[in-house]
Symmetry: C2
Subunit: 365 residues, 2 copies
């Protein structure tokens, strides 16, 4: 067996090719939110989506050090105690994986096979990233900020620590947080214990877990996760466009009760309150449309107040007079930047940012 067999190149599924064993291994490790858990404004522990590129590293809060170095006046390193002394801020943030929706694309890019459930909302507590950068003193020649986690592995033939870069402007203006608590408790191992970055509004790949280093560099960062992996491309080899903020999406809590195997839904006839959540990383959601006839006609759902309008999902509801027979429910979000969730999102080779509208088949009895 060769290194190429150990670490395969990216590929697209053949026509009609079922989910592969490699994809299933990832689906068995990583998990999404069961859609009925959209009922909780704050996602309970263990129901928030998780994606781990390599292994969850074995870490320890007691001797953990976070270094800030590179193009700074004064390199500093921080332990947890020092970070806690710098202040404490809690924000409620909806995070979504950039690969959410990938397994519904045709052809299907072979990678973590998310359907639509790679989302969750948590309260993260930590110190603003800007405060750490200010403490170190960012030099004028700094261009990008590189965040390095403690997880280590090989991806498409390249051995690496997980690393992502932001521009200095993005790092300062994104209200990013260096967090040590999730929902009021120390971070769980799979969410970055003891320290992670949270970049509100951005897909999850920016929120580097098990954060151990912040380096300021004087040229654009060209690491694997920025320059190779997380890019919107239609052809292999083209530079593509960086994946950044979360595209608008609405998801319904499936009504009625499910069939175990197909997850199809059975709903009693009569008045049904349909509920769900909608979010966007670009701007607050200001409209959700819902269709009970597979998109033939649409009506506005009622929007409830968000618990954190800028950063967290917004609940919506809709009263449906359900008549016997099969119905396809679908829903789409609009945000204040003018973005509208598409009925079918454009395809891309990496399977990123696929916010194609959810379709939910129900049998009304």
């Amino acid at each position: 067996m060769t290194i190429e067999q150990f670490s395969t190149k990216g590929r697209l599924a053949d026509v009609g090719e079922g989910i592969t064993g490699d994809e299933l291994q990832l689906a068995a490790r990583n998990h999404g939110i069961p859609l009925e858990a959209l009922r909780y404004d704050l996602t309970p522990p263990g129901l928030h989506y998780v994606l781990v590129h390599y292994d969850i590293p074995l870490t320890n809060a007691f001797d953990w050090r976070l270094t800030v170095n590179g193009c700074v006046e004064q390199p500093i390193d921080f332990g947890l105690t020092e970070l806690r002394a710098m202040g404490r801020q809690t924000v409620r943030v909806t995070l979504e994986c950039a690969g959410n929706g990938r397994a519904n694309l045709h052809p299907r890019p072979i990678s973590q096979p998310w359907l639509m459930e790679a989302v969750g909302t948590a309260e993260w507590t930590g110190v603003p990233l800007a405060a750490l950068l200010e403490a170190a003193g960012v030099l004028p020649e700094a261009v990008d900020v590189v965040f390095t986690g403690a997880d280590h592995g090989v991806e498409r033939g390249i051995e690496q620590d997980y690393q992502r870069g932001l521009s200095v402007a993005e790092a300062l203006e994104s209200n990013a947080l260096v967090a040590w608590e999730m929902n009021g408790l120390p971070l769980p191992p799979q969410h970055g214990y003891p320290l992670r970055l949270i970049v509100p509004g951005w897909y999850g790949m920016a929120s580097v877990k098990w954060l151990r280093s912040i380096e300021l560099i004087d040229k654009p960062f060209t690491g694997y996760q920025n320059a190779e992996a997380y890019r919107i491309r239609t052809e292999a080899g083209e530079p593509g466009v960086a994946v950044t903020r979360i595209e608008p999406r609405a998801l319904l809590i499936p009504p009625g009760h499910p069939d175990f195997m197909t997850r199809h839904r059975f709903v009693p006839a009569g008045e049904v309150t349909l509920q769900g959540r909608a979010w966007s990383g670009w701007a607050p959601v200001d409209r959700v449309e819902l269709s009970t006839n597979a998109g033939a006609t649409w009506q506005d759902a009622e929007l409830d107040a968000s618990s954190n309008e800028d950063l967290a999902w917004r609940p919506f509801s809709f009263t449906w007079q359900a008549t016997p027979g099969e119905h396809v429910l679908t829903v789409r979000a609009h945000d204040k930047s003018g973005r509208v969730q598409p009925i079918e999102a454009p395809w891309n080779r990496g399977g990123f940012a696929n916010n194609t509208a959810q379709r939910l088949t129900v049998l009304v009895q």
Copy 2:
């Protein structure tokens, strides 16, 4: 669309048929333990395996009632406060899903497609089931005890609340617990909040979540989950044998670092400490064998003390002199009842209790 399309019959995958969309939906909702999390003696929240047949129900501890009725001297119902007043016992238990290993079978039964990761160990706190049965007074004619959860759905065409039965003897002798805490906190929603049964040593299907009723009946229970679903059969339609206790299994913590997509492992040459966990629901594990040459030769691993020898997994370790090249690691558990984990477990139609030995491919560099 008909009810048969909404709730399909059980079937086997065709030769070469990839994982189906239905299976992927289940894999995206339910999740296993990432194998590196076998390093924790007690599985942290969110890393313990979860299987939910229908939806996680919306429940409330404040007005929750558990009824004990049927063939008893005195039907009783309990709120959480009354249960807490009856005593408090904490046990460390390893739970495994009966379908663990299903997706590795040939032909593959189409259902929740576990590979080998549907396991976890937690500390459960509650009151012994025997104390509740004693309080109600089991009448001599009682044969079976039926446990009903609040989750509701359709399975293979049959609408049902999730229900499982035990014989009165099994209920009394299994040291079963009616639990309200997991690892010292109220049960998470997906693990049965506010109340669940824990039947140590049995596959997870016996540990009914969202427990609301315990009924004693004067004949054997013939409900779907006992008589139809959880049975070892080689032919459709035969009565089969009930799935009960957990068969022995050992799992290695994958050494070195992984490739993202294939999960193959890269290991530096030299001395490597291989570690893992082994368990059995029949009797304590008393031996673990390990092979670093795909089963050609075997050596005994060193067993550490279990934190709860009867009910929880037992750690093992093995020092390996890793030489460059490809190696297949495999491992198997023995227990004090004389059961030995097979290199390849016999096939069955439901895909239950497949404790075929783990095989882990590593490239030593």
